[in-house]
Symmetry: C2
Subunit: 436 residues, 2 copies
């Protein structure tokens, strides 16, 4: 970065870079988290970003002084169109919310409607956008406290007249937040859509624009009245899928189609602005009032069972004051026998223990083998076909409402927000929806 | 079961059951773990099992006294054929080992070669089978101590002249054992095949016979010199897949094709006795000597990271005396910032911390976001494209050999048994191999 200091170049300045007898001119981009110390990235007039490795032979010259980095491109003045529905976009942080201006690559901790329009002008065809920032965290730092804050903001927008609400969220824990919001409302009557992006929007391969457009399409015109996640359905930039908030999981560290509906088909496909239903969902209503019921007991532990796991793992969870335990058992919902006494102690002390499976797909069935039956006798609550992550969020929510062991058990076994299906679709195993 | 007591029927007796003007005759099967109190199961002369619900109108009569349940069908006397390869089958427990006599449905804690031949006579066409029981546990009770016992038994058989070794194992933790055995040998020169079944072999839909036949086919004639898992490749009884021991995972609670290779193609397909390679593997040799190197430090914790996870989760792992921690982080390998001080403390105390991703698919990349870079700076070891379960087993093995932090880090980052691929196959996401 010495080179940049030498020419006093700042993000936004127009630079001329000569290297290996090639000359390029463009706007200096902020050092993205993907960059390293010895590269600079300029945005060419063609719109493409170019990374240049600063070897000794590279010459850098400042051609023009740019705007301050926070400014990005001049925002397009936006005129609300009264014939269009209004959609509220809530920022929480993460790649999509902080960097959505994919033409400049400038890093924004939050965004205004104007900035969004200048980044993705097609949004103006769909809706009048209203934006506000709830928080600004990488999603790995998301917490039950922030779920409550987001839920309140969503209800405020929906009850305030928004046709739909979009939540821009980091992808790491978007599945957990989607589940939390699914339990956090009574009477959702319009779409609540979580959206993120897997690639920074300053990269040419970014999925941010299509995801955001599809999310706003779902929010502004779909008849869904549930919490859902809208993300790429393939690695091509061709369609998005709408996943139920309680059945979705991030399944790949980097692919754009990382989010997958587990044990069911996705709710809808979004392609070329059309929303095509794939399975049943609650239908939106003209009128309604959404009530926030977002009490979460954060002291719930998610414990993955593995061969060699020691009973003290459970014991120390108890000692640490956790109020509930979700086990990721093996197979149909098993643990080694050595854990039985600790599990028994937990339940005796009023700490409910819920069983899910680390298989991810399928359904817990603890009546098949004696190990499962033993665990049922100890009072372990079978998690049906709930994802471990969803059972974890749900137990937080249930314990936020009652600590009566029988009520906890009843609520955990009752389908509240699509998290328990009466039957697991046999054709929904490991299948990406690829019918488009 | 009162009805059975009334007619003094024992497992193996021939019963005549009348119900709703239908009459059936067959051999009384043992109450399988799938049965419930009000059903009895008889094996008809056609070979099919029939479940009868004992309503008030059902009449049960004993027609003939059967053999004791442990006897099953009379074993076929088996004559070793010197022209055939010899395959050793080691029993460890689990559905396939304990119940392989699918014609009688009798429950066997172990099995003899004769019993195997009478259950799956086609085995005799493939190999001379030698059987022995290493242990007899449900696989949820499998442990690092038993991995060592199995490894020694495998080496004894392979060095003793077996063309290949088959290990009958419960499916719940078969992936963990496969990984453990992959690290536990030096110089494997012939196939080591784990096999299990998802359905008790006394059910008509059992996968036990095809799995066992395919496993013995791989052991007796494939040119694989690695530890692998052979299980159904689809829900039809049509082909099996051979999965590398360090890349395989149980992905469904109940389906027969529950085992899936992650981030890669399976090694081979087995169909109609043919073994068709799909990807590269180490090739078998005529001569060799396998050495057991099975030291595992059992005090390794597998900790799944979730929003709301509290620092004391890591602290209590430390206090409990664990010697290593494998984190199942979010996305590319992240944890909430609140865990950083605890992670730092762990590493300072000489407890290595390895990062994997709960996404399952893909590869950890901790250089993309600042959270990952912070964790790298703390000394967290990135787990590349290792499955969390495999990294867990590998860290046990590594810590069984050294506690030097630099050596641990080096070994964790070195591919030892196919657990780290230089590149993740982009086409291997969520795909069942279905090319047959």
């Amino acid at each position: 970065m010495k080179v940049l200091k030498a020419v006093r170049a700042k993000v936004g300045d127009r630079l001329r870079v000569e290297k290996l007898s090639q000359v390029h001119e463009g706007i200096l981009m902020p050092r993205t988290e993907l960059g390293d110390q010895n590269h600079l990235v300029i945005k060419l007039d063609s719109g493409y970003n170019l990374g240049v490795r600063l070897t000794r032979d590279a010459k850098v010259r400042k051609v023009a002084v740019g705007k301050a980095p926070r400014m990005g491109l001049p925002p397009i003045a936006f005129k609300p169109d009264p014939s269009k529905p209004s959609v509220s976009i809530l920022g929480t942080g993460g790649t999509i919310a902080s960097r959505v201006d994919y033409r400049t690559g400038a890093v924004y901790p939050a965004f205004s409607a104007e900035e969004l329009y200048s980044a993705v002008p097609e949004l103006a065809d769909l809706a009048n956008i209203k934006t506000s920032a709830v928080c600004s965290v990488f999603s790995e730092n998301m917490s039950p406290q922030l779920w409550v804050k987001i839920a309140r903001a969503v209800a405020r927008e929906m009850n305030g007249g928004a046709r739909g609400v979009v939540i821009a969220h980091g992808t790491d824990t978007m599945g957990y937040t989607a589940a939390a919001l699914s339990f956090a409302f009574r009477g959702v009557f319009r779409p609540v859509v979580l959206v993120g992006s897997q690639r920074s929007s300053d990269r040419p391969s970014s999925d941010a624009a299509l995801n955001l457009l599809s999310a706003v399409a779902v929010a502004s015109k779909s008849d869904i009245a549930e919490v859902c996640v809208v993300m790429h359905g393939s690695t091509e930039d061709d369609f998005c899928l709408v996943h139920r908030g309680t059945k979705v999981r991030k399944c790949h560290t980097s692919r754009r189609d990382t989010f997958q509906t587990i044990n069911d088909l996705p709710m809808c496909v979004v392609k070329d602005g059309e929303i095509i239903p794939l399975s049943d969902y609650n239908k939106a209503k003209q009128e309604g009032k959404v009530v926030v019921d977002a009490k979460f007991e954060p002291r719930v532990a998610l414990v993955k069972v593995s061969p060699g796991i020691q009973p003290k793992t459970i014991d120390s969870v108890l000692r640490a004051g956790y109020r509930g335990i979700v086990l990721e058992g093996t197979g149909l919902g098993h643990t080694p026998e050595v854990l039985f006494p600790s599990i028994k102690r937990a339940i005796k002390r009023g700490v409910p223990v819920v069983m899910t499976s680390q298989c991810i797909w399928g359904r817990v069935d603890m009546k098949v083998y004696s190990t499962g039956r033993d665990l049922l006798r100890l009072g372990v609550i079978p998690g049906e076909d709930m994802l471990p992550e969803v059972a974890y969020v749900k137990l937080m929510w249930v314990l936020g409402h009652t600590r009566d062991m029988r009520e906890v058990s009843e609520l955990m076994l009752t389908n509240i927000a699509g998290e328990i299906l009466p039957r697991t679709r046999p054709d929904a195993f490991l299948k990406v929806f690829g019918g488009i």
